[in-house]
Symmetry: C2
């Protein structure tokens, strides 16, 4: 069974067996990290690239006024910047949200992977999609109201987690608190709570105990103005709004 990372990379470009082996080799030496633990802290000069194998992590920053803004979620198969070692010093932190399994990939190994053409394309694609996702988050926070923002986030997570095989019948684990959703969406925890209730009352989602069910993806996407093009999935048809048959078809 292919790893989460391989699944994700193959959503961009098909890989040869040799390339998949190269990736698998890198995914050894998994380390378990407790929830809410910094993996990289602002000011660090990391030498390695970090890969999330299991669990949820996030990029975040604390402002001088003490507010936290989460800028990205890292889900299984995601890694932090490939060229992280070019800049002297991290300008933000990366922390686990839930308990995580992570791998430190030595710089050498990364450069090795970037030498094989298809793998390089796949890895750069993943990096470009991370950036596109960041842009989409800016659009989300900049233009949409609270319930739509959260709906948009859930649509995105559905597709991202689906690619790596973590969705079944529109259902996935989201092991984070409402306060963390609030810090992601630029909202107060209370307003996030009320916005989630709006989504629930419209029968768009279920969300409780770290467990999400998207009850009607098509309607949620329409409600939230979600367009998946920024995720650049190879099978755009599958990813397209309305192209995911409800429930059953999204499982494997």
């Amino acid at each position: 069974m292919p790893s989460r990372l391989i699944r994700k990379l193959e959503a961009f470009v098909p890989l040869t067996e040799a390339e998949k082996t190269l990736v698998s080799d890198v995914e050894r030496n998994v380390r378990t990290v407790a929830p809410k633990t910094d993996l990289i802290t602002e000011g660090d000069s990391p030498e390695n690239v970090l890969l999330i194998v299991e669990g949820f992590a996030c990029r975040y920053k604390i402002t001088s006024e003490g507010q936290r803004q989460i800028m990205a979620y890292l889900v299984p198969g995601d890694f932090c910047d490939l060229h992280i070692f070019i800049l002297k010093e991290m300008d933000h932190s990366i922390s686990t949200l839930s308990a995580c399994k992570v791998v430190e990939i030595p710089r050498k190994r990364v450069l090795e992977m970037l030498k094989t053409p298809a793998l390089a394309t796949a890895l750069w694609s993943a990096t470009l999609v991370d950036e596109a996702t960041l842009r989409e988050w800016l659009v989300n926070i900049g233009t949409r109201e609270a319930p739509q923002r959260i709906g948009h986030l859930l649509c995105e997570l559905l597709l991202r987690l689906h690619v790596v095989g973590l969705v079944s019948e529109g259902r996935f684990e989201l092991p984070i608190t409402q306060a963390e959703i609030a810090d992601t969406m630029g909202l107060s925890a209370i307003h996030a709570n009320r916005s989630i209730q709006v989504l629930r009352e419209a029968d768009l989602i279920t969300l409780a105990r770290g467990h999400v069910v998207i009850l009607d993806f098509k309607r949620l996407a329409a409600f939230s103005g979600f367009n998946p093009n920024y995720l650049h999935l190879r099978n755009q048809a599958e990813a397209g709004i309305g192209a995911i048959p409800q429930n059953a078809a999204i499982s494997f």
Copy 2:
């Protein structure tokens, strides 16, 4: 006199004469583009990298609800994504704000530049800083109130334009409308207008007819929670809050 791009790259890494020549060679064939004209439109599959030589451009997206969100400013010396050709299709547009002079750099030339080590480091640094800037914008919109957001933007522009020699005595050209500032900051044009008035009344800035004066950078930075670390300028001391002596010292 070095080009804006060379000035910017040398803010990251010193370049040899040969490298500077390589960059200069690329900056020929300048094309003039009218204000408010798309350089790249969502859905395009661009073959070339775009470099801004003069004027202001921006990345933007229009949501399904018809709202525009500006996600980045491109100022002289800035280019769009180096690996823009890896993904099949643009997920956002790039448009001029003012009249611009731009260069299309053929893919080949880019790869050529990336082969010389120091230049590669400088170009990747610039790309990483663009991404860091995008993250900082997310923090800005996600956590700060309107006047602080705009103040933060002006602090950033002061430093970015200073690097490429477009600031003199805390004064620079900002050839964009308040409506565009609003679309950048996720605000209505009217609220942007009132927020600018707050900054004016606090004697922090002057802003009129596309012309900005930062009257007190230190105070504006403190007011806005601005920390320049994400710009990763080599001379952090010079960029640091309070380290820019008022007025005179910021000119050349």
